[in-house]
Point group: C2
Chain length 302, copies 2
Amino acid sequence: MTDYSIGLDLGGTNLRAAAIDRDGKLLHLVTGHTQYSEGRDAIMGDMVEAIASLRDTQGPAGLAGIGVVVPGFISLREGVIRNCNNIPSLEDFPMRDELRERLNAPVILENDANAAALGEQWIGAGRGVRDLVLLTLGTGVGGGIISDGKLIRGFLGMGGELGHITVIPNGNPCGCGNRGCLEKHASATAISAMARLLGYGNVTAKEVYDRAVAGDERAIQIFTCMGEALGIALATLVNAFNSQLYLLSGGVIGAWDFFAPAMIAEARRRSFTFRTTDTRVERAKLGGEAGLYGAAYLPWAT
Amino acid sequence: MTDYSIGLDLGGTNLRAAAIDRDGKLLHLVTGHTQYSEGRDAIMGDMVEAIASLRDTQGPAGLAGIGVVVPGFISLREGVIRNCNNIPSLEDFPMRDELRERLNAPVILENDANAAALGEQWIGAGRGVRDLVLLTLGTGVGGGIISDGKLIRGFLGMGGELGHITVIPNGNPCGCGNRGCLEKHASATAISAMARLLGYGNVTAKEVYDRAVAGDERAIQIFTCMGEALGIALATLVNAFNSQLYLLSGGVIGAWDFFAPAMIAEARRRSFTFRTTDTRVERAKLGGEAGLYGAAYLPWAT
């Protein structure tokens, strides 16, 4: 009998759940079939079904625990999503307690980027590192902070919202109420918005990247702007945490060669600690799998 | 026999050392007599003498340990001050190891603001709180972060440098190489510099405060600017840490009524978490004693 854990990642478009053993070996993977537009009851049903089917397949005896990761601001203490732009029907609803009740088992709820940081530390780019900060660069920007081996959650579990660090005080407006949030200047959405300002019309971040590869100077400038915004945030995070390792993940890191030089130059200029220590800034390794692995690791992480 | 600890605070103008018991009771206080301009050997001699005299007075049997706090960027792992604007002669010198050798006892070296955060948590405004962030507003701005009961030190012990968070990317230049550091917009020095820009000439922060009390609108505006800069930083710190308590200390908090309203308004506007949770922002309680008490607490803090 293998000791295993069940992780579920409620991503932006679909849910995936997996049984994973203590060494990080994937035993079984299931994916959901529900459109999120069908609403909360359908999503909850899908989550319960995915987890229950994995438990039935692997057997209940070896189950170490269940971790569920979701996007948005989570109140860990209450087990409630306080703010979730992608799936607003899940806001202010006792998700963790209802999952516990319907599965008759303990469930740990966590933010997706926090879980991704755990996943990278467990079996990814942060293996063996006690202090790391992860930024997930996707539609938005998420953050996960591990200090001395443990996630920084804060008193309600809402810590690590690094996409909402102010990098440009009078910058672009954000749904959180702030202006100049990192995620409004350094995400796939920000890349598209900058492209629109430069007259490209309605293009994706990938299309902007393709133009940069082709030598388009304005497209390259967009990634430079993004790198500078990231560098401002990175300098602040280096000064605050003095972590050994800063990881970037998400689809946008495909454009690393275009944004990373500006990011590193800006961070060097702005952080004495960055300039004078061997602080590493690297790409994460697990890609879209980090949240799922981190979810499964949650029962072992406390 | 009382179990006690010795703390030493190497402040900006003088050193003070104390024997303090496990309940935070001050048993004995000594102050140094050396002018820092006399150089490193004189300062080191003064430190050793102060600590040794306390140990002789209290007796070596009950001594739990020795904590020494200093300003500047500290490499905790090496026990070395990497950057210290006030006392540059102490930079890049193995202070901790030399103190250990000359005292023939273990010594813990720590940054002054980190120690102040520990002190406030031990017997000050943060008593009983597991997550808190302290900002010391003096000549510069220091920071100390306690997460789940422990100081965030980072991999080299250089964490918590919150005075060097970027609040205005193209703001005032800083000795650390950055521009727009919090401490260049929200310290006693920043207040004097803003007053000079408004034509007051060479005035202290206290004089600017006195003018604000007398109803001088431009002096009041200076504190509003400072409050806004603090609010930008506070929002970032709330989003990153979700701490229950944010404490401000240092001489400048005498002007609380002039800068706090702008600070709170700015933080509310910029942080979803701040607006929607009962995050507290308060004045620290121990004043200039926090570093000394935190120094003494270091041997018990690990």
